[in-house]
Symmetry: C2
Subunit: 348 residues, 2 copies
């Protein structure tokens, strides 16, 4: 199987478990209130939307790479990872006032359209919380030993703390110009933290040697940085056809991707004027975006950001190679990371 | 010691532990970002505001009632309970757009006043999440056995799920008229759930016999109902002097306390018109409030709600008496519940 076929196949197994888990919650809610039952239906539809399950499949493959097989318990644990990822997205979309997520409405919009903005917004806050509680419940009921589960609880609480600190900084950066170091503080707690969590959960549950856990933590961090930088480059440089939604949306909110921070450092006076002007606009059109892309490109910032992403990818691959993970898992991560590296060249 | 002196004394011990715990978080943040450090300072000020620590002191007294003494580990666990209660308040205040909480600004207002509404609102979402992560971390690092911590993690995830389902229903009830059964579904997951959690955490960590845990769960539920009904009566019937803030604020948001639901059932046609008119208003003044209070009083709804609160209080006391808790703890709960019962008579 190619790594993409692996993602499809394993993702399908996880989806089946997600359905079972949420069917139970839905049935329980049916007995006490139709609105809560509907909320669980919405959660199900939201979590099961089409998309690559990089996080939960990374947990599953890491587990398999140590345990040698996969079974019911680890699939239940992967339900928890999927819920974790999505509870973060619900609050992220809410605060950024996004309307679309993976081909459907964002969660608060789903509710708002049936009632009003206040109920949508409030339910969005509480559903994000609820989904984090479900994350913990799915994991605690996965059947692993108490000792392993408590280690995973520590990871989830550390991870959730980091993610939310990162979200606050990301928001703060709309109000100030961060430098590269500050961007790394924020990013270390975002995708980097998520990948650390997903690899470590797989490692702990799969009985990885303690030495490997430290390596997995670092590998996850570098994978996260590499993905994060690439993801931001896509948001700026992808075409509408490549991206499926208008590019530049994050920047129009005032977000500061790494390639923009580098551009502020590297651009000449004319370039700086263009950047400053762009960042102060409430709405941007495609002409504005083309001007900024030119500055990012011509100042060398795009190339520097791509190089950073590739450096992190190389480090992640080297670290994965040093673990005692099985060959199948090593190959999976290698192909996945190579794909990210190669895809950087599509955006110019 | 009277129960109030006990609350003061034990509350002080818990405050000291809260300070230590948050000082660590603040110091860690200092090394990476001043904004996050400031957020932890704000959390500290928010959690340490003056007020009765009913939840964490209930945990502490329940623990003492089984273990016979209190030590460092249970005080750390009580930090977790305080954080738990406050993480719920942060999101509650945010969604209700409240500006004041226990003599200070609500969390999102603290941030909003230094920046703007968007940063206040977004930080409010993420800080509530962060404080729940801190809740789990404080508990997981309290030093109790893996087995006990695992059980407490299950309680926290069940409790947080319930609280957030309840919050959604509470919000939904602004859009529809709930009946008494629906109110109880919502309330069973609110204060009732919080008291269940606090008593059970104390019981589990203090080695309560399994038989007692079931009793504590029920006792906590009845304490919660009794408090919840009383709390709502206060919000409507307290004077500005008694309450320290303008009464009627919850109802002006469209909340439906139990005494209002009973009033809708018991009022005559004229009373119903007054209630319906009141509920449709965006802003209420003190004349409106007096009219509604008269309907609630004269329809008998106030008396029925008070009786309900007292019934739950009696059940809670009877259940506490059936446990093998030590005398000091039994007396504490008895006095606390008696106080609630008696205070109902202050509001007319």
């Amino acid at each position: 199987m190619s790594w993409e076929e692996t993602l499809d196949y394993y993702g399908g197994l996880i989806d089946e478990e997600v359905k079972k888990f949420l069917a139970e919650a839905k049935n329980a809610a049916k007995a006490y209130h139709p609105f809560i039952e509907k909320v669980y239906s919405n959660i199900e539809e939201f979590v099961l939307r089409k998309g690559k399950k990089l996080a939960s499949c990374s947990t599953l493959l890491t587990y398999e790479g140590y345990a040698g097989e996969i079974g019911n318990r680890i699939l239940k644990a992967c339900v928890s990872i999927e819920l974790y990822r999505h509870c973060i997205l619900v609050h992220d979309d809410l605060v950024d006032e996004d309307t679309q997520r993976r081909g459907g409405k964002t969660f608060h919009r789903l509710i708002a359209e049936n009632y009003d903005a206040r109920l949508g917004y409030g339910t969005g806050v509480f559903v994000g919380d609820l989904m984090y509680a479900l994350t913990l419940q799915a994991m605690l009921n996965s059947g692993f030993s108490q000792e392993k589960l408590n280690r995973v609880m520590l990871l989830f609480s550390e991870g959730y703390r980091n993610v939310n600190e990162s979200q606050m900084l990301d928001l703060l950066f709309e109000y100030k110009e961060p430098d590269v170091d500050e961007w790394y503080v924020m990013a270390s707690k975002r995708a980097a933290s998520l990948f650390e969590t997903t690899l470590l959960v797989g490692g702990i549950l799969g009985n990885a040697p303690e030495r490997d856990l430290q390596i997995l933590r670092e590998a996850g961090m570098h994978m996260g940085y590499s993905f994060d930088i690439q993801d931001d480059i896509i948001d700026t440089f992808a075409s509408l056809e490549q991206y499926g939604k208008p590019p530049g949306e994050d920047m129009s909110l005032g977000k500061k991707p790494l390639h923009i921070i580098y551009a502020f450092e590297l651009a000449d006076r004319g370039g700086l004027d263009t950047l400053t002007n762009f960042m102060s606009k409430e709405r941007i059109n495609s002409d504005d975006l083309e001007l900024v892309k030119a500055v990012v490109r011509e100042s060398g910032a795009l190339e520097v950001a791509k190089e950073k992403s590739k450096e992190h990818a190389e480090k992640a691959k080297a670290l994965i190679a040093k673990t005692s993970l099985g060959d199948k898992t090593k190959k999976f991560f290698d192909s996945m990371i190579n794909y990210i590296q190669e895809s950087l060249d599509w955006y110019k």
